[in-house]
């Protein structure tokens, strides 16, 4: 009758987004929670959202389903966390941006450029002995690109970490919210978050 141990289930990557209040120390609060409980964050990207006062973080966490679910529930308890979205429960689009610096020689130059073209990678810097490419795409495409370039000699890479959004042609197709079980739209929840500057105003008087 024990909780599932990591051996019981396959370890895999889980893609999760958190909508959080845009306040000091939010990132520390979240990463320290992960650290304390021994969950490793494989990638993390943070940016602002269309709603003032709300930022969006996207994580990749590795572990079995039980471990990741526990991590999400712990996150959900933080006051700064407005909503958790588990992308594995929905259809989503995800992207990652990577910069790759590849060594070139006069002989390999043409071949390297040809492969890059096949991947729609853009050249962002040209040197005598190296080309730097920018590639965007899902994880598979980026991994494939790096594998293709590896034989030529990869000098440096930098990846942004994955970002994701729920699929849907209309803005009103909601994201699947982690805990609630059934799908609900995010908008009313997010709108209840007041931007910091506005919080002090309009406090009702009791005395």
């Amino acid at each position: 009758m024990t909780a599932p141990t990591p051996q019981d289930q396959p370890q895999r990557d889980h893609l999760v987004s958190a909508l959080v209040r845009d306040e000091p120390r939010v990132l520390t609060r979240i990463t320290s929670l992960f650290g304390r409980r021994g969950y490793n964050i494989k990638s993390l990207s943070v940016g602002s959202t269309e709603h003032p006062g709300v930022s969006r973080m996207t994580f990749v966490v590795t572990g079995d389903r039980g471990v990741v679910e526990q991590a999400m529930r712990q996150l959900e308890k933080l006051h700064d966390v407005v909503r958790i979205i588990d992308h594995s429960l929905e259809k989503y689009v995800d992207r990652e941006l990577v910069l790759v610096k590849v060594a070139i020689t006069p002989e390999s130059r043409v071949e390297v450029r040809q492969i890059a073209e096949d991947f729609r990678a853009r050249i962002v810097d040209v040197g005598r002995h190296a080309l730097t490419f920018e590639v965007t795409g899902d994880e598979g495409k980026i991994t494939a690109f790096i594998e293709q370039m590896r034989p030529f000699g990869i000098l440096e890479t930098m990846r942004t970490g994955r970002i994701a959004l729920t699929r849907g042609s209309n803005a009103d197709i909601p994201s699947h919210v982690y805990h609630g079980g059934e799908t609900e739209t995010l908008r009313p929840v997010v709108e209840s978050v007041e931007p910091r500057e506005e919080r002090a105003r309009g406090v009702p008087n009791l005395f």
């Binding site: 009758m1 024990t2 006051h79």
Partner: protein, 573 residues
């Protein structure tokens, strides 16, 4: 007072007063002096000066644990703030609603390693439910109101608000924030209740287990258990949720739990857990916990469901609401075999019959009245008190369950005594733990608090550690002997005008207890007991509940192997 006089510090007090807060525990210092200055304008607010910030925060915890209302404490920056750390961690573990307010250096000095600066919000990040630095005076009342709401809502916990000194001094022009309504707990899902009903109806060996999350649902849980006729186990944190006088009560589970509770868990086919988090001191080895049971877990905090034990029916919601729904349509289960089995286990509860710590604790707790509050420190005396006391009501038992904080018991009893001046607030402490916050005797004297009764079980050892050394380290007693260096506790009490009594034998004990309890003032009783005494039953760490050792095994005399010859000699004497 006109708006023109308002400062951040006054706005703080006005907000606290507006939230119905009547008492705060604290200790002043440079970075919070404007707040202490503003206090003089609020005579309706009682400030209790402790002798150490740890005393102040445990007193605030005692207040909160006894009443269920939020406890408030105050400290200055740097060392004042860091002295709150233990209490914050304690409140976090035991879900105590607490507001800690700290002063800090002025904003322009923050982050410069200024005198008495500490990054207290950084330090307390993992041990608070939430924390704030107030960076704009116009935000201050709203932040306090929000902090109080967060501390009290959902699973309660500690919230810290750090206020830079310049913000305390800044003129304040806004309104005073009013209390937020407490958010309603989610209603348990009907399907979950239906599945739980089904399991209960088919149960042959059911048991209910309740924890500290059910403290405010005692009446509903009692009705539920009686309606189905299911035996009830109360965890260390849940003692008092179910009346001990009810024949259905089986005692406490876990490491020092009762035979009946631990055996019933090991045999049960359905275990209904309400408001508890399956702490490892309760479960023993997790894969040996309730090995045959389908587990129904009622819990407000979703993160606790499935965290430690596999849950067959998760019921998310308020304990009281869930208990009421589960009691609906209940029919008494007719399970004579299970009842007979449980009765047999219950009969194995031994009453202490020879002089020792258990005898002393038993004599004290059997004199408690149902309204009395019993606060304990941490150690053998705590486990004995938990085993032997008979609580009829919730919120009469204060102790540090999750963190196991020595030094908690006495200041917590002071907090409870101030919250309920008409009630006796009895402390049971060890000679070790009492000395961690003994300076709070001064608080008794300063406020002429008359309803605190301190009992020190003096075994001259750090008893619980000694017990482990005895059982698991071949009696190598390493750094646990206190006997030669303990103060004369009666003289110590006398130094603070607290009357003291002593008993060193079973014969002396009744008269000493009478004199101690009938003293019109707060008083101290020292019960001098034999040095070596172990608490049983015991489930060794890492063992399953079914591997419980029921009573003390016969002991082969082992010669002292470690430097503590003094202790050995004392033992052999």
């Amino acid at each position: 007072m006109t708006q023109g006089d308002m400062t951040g510090a006054k706005a703080l007090w006005a907000t606290l007063v507006g939230h119905g807060i009547t008492t705060v525990f604290g200790y002043p210092g440079g970075a919070i002096m404007p707040v202490y200055d503003a206090l003089t304008f609020y005579p309706e607010m009682r400030h209790v000066l402790a002798r150490h910030e740890q005393g102040a925060i445990h007193a605030a915890e005692g207040w909160a644990k006894a009443t269920g209302e939020i406890g408030v404490c105050l400290a200055t920056s740097g060392p004042g703030a860091t002295n709150l750390v233990t209490g914050l961690a304690d409140a976090m573990m035991d879900s105590v609603p607490l507001l800690a307010i700290t002063g800090n250096v002025a904003r322009h000095l923050m982050g410069t390693d200024a005198f008495q600066e500490a990054d207290i919000t950084g330090i307390t990040l993992p041990i608070t439910k939430h924390n704030y630095v107030v960076r704009d005076v116009e935000e201050l009342p709203q932040v306090i109101a929000e902090a109080i709401r967060i501390a009290r809502s959902g699973r309660p916990g500690p919230v810290l608000v750090d206020i830079p000194k310049d913000i305390q001094l800044a003129p304040y022009h806004g309104e005073i924030a009013r209390p937020h309504a407490r958010p309603e707990a989610p209603d348990p899902a009907p399907e979950a209740i239906a599945r739980a009903h089904e399991l209960l109806r088919g149960a042959k060996k059911p048991v209910i287990m309740v924890g500290g999350g059910a403290l405010d649902a005692a009446a509903d849980i009692t009705a539920l258990a009686r309606a189905w006729d299911i035996p009830v186990i109360t965890t260390l944190m849940g003692l008092g949720v179910f009346p001990a006088s009810d024949p259905l009560w089986l005692g406490m589970p876990g490491m020092h739990g009762s035979v009946a509770a631990n055996r019933a868990i090991s045999e049960a086919d359905v275990l209904l857990g309400i408001g508890l988090r399956f702490d490892d001191r309760v479960t023993g080895r997790v894969n040996g916990f309730a090995p045959n049971a389908a587990i129904i877990h009622v819990e407000l905090d979703a993160a606790e469901i499935g965290k430690i034990v596999r849950t067959h029916v998760p019921v998310r919601g308020d304990a009281g609401a869930a208990a009421r729904l589960l009691a609906e349509g209940a029919q008494k289960l007719e399970l004579p075999e299970w009842q007979a089995q449980v009765e047999e286990w219950k009969s194995r509860t031994a009453q202490p019959d020879h002089w020792g710590a258990a005898y002393g604790v038993q004599a004290v707790v059997e004199r408690l009245r149902p309204d009395d509050i019993l606060s304990s420190d941490v150690g053998q005396h705590q486990m004995l008190a938990a085993q032997l006391a008979r609580f009829e009501k919730p919120r009469r038992w204060l102790n540090s369950g999750g963190l196991g904080t020595m030094g908690f018991g006495f200041p917590a009893a002071i907090g409870a005594a101030l919250a309920e001046p008409g009630v006796r607030s009895v402390v049971i402490a060890g000679d070790g733990g009492f000395q961690m916050t003994a300076q709070e005797l001064a608080t008794l004297k300063m406020y002429d608090i008359r309803n605190v009764k301190i009992c020190i079980i003096n075994n001259s050892y750090l008893g619980m550690v000694r017990q482990w050394q005895e059982m698991f380290h071949e009696r190598r007693y390493s750094e646990v002997w206190l006997g030669d260096s303990n103060p004369d506790f009666l003289k110590l009490a006398d130094a603070y005008d607290v009357p003291g009594y002593r008993a060193s034998s079973a014969e002396e004990l009744p008269a000493a207890i009478d004199a101690w309890l009938s003293d019109p003032k707060s008083a101290l009783l020292e019960v001098v007991v034999p040095h070596e005494h172990a608490v049983f039953p015991m489930v060794p760490a890492g063992a399953a509940l079914s591997e419980m050792i029921e009573s003390e095994p016969p002991r082969a005399p082992t010669p002292g192997t470690r430097k503590n010859a003094a202790a050995e000699e004392a033992n052999n004497a």
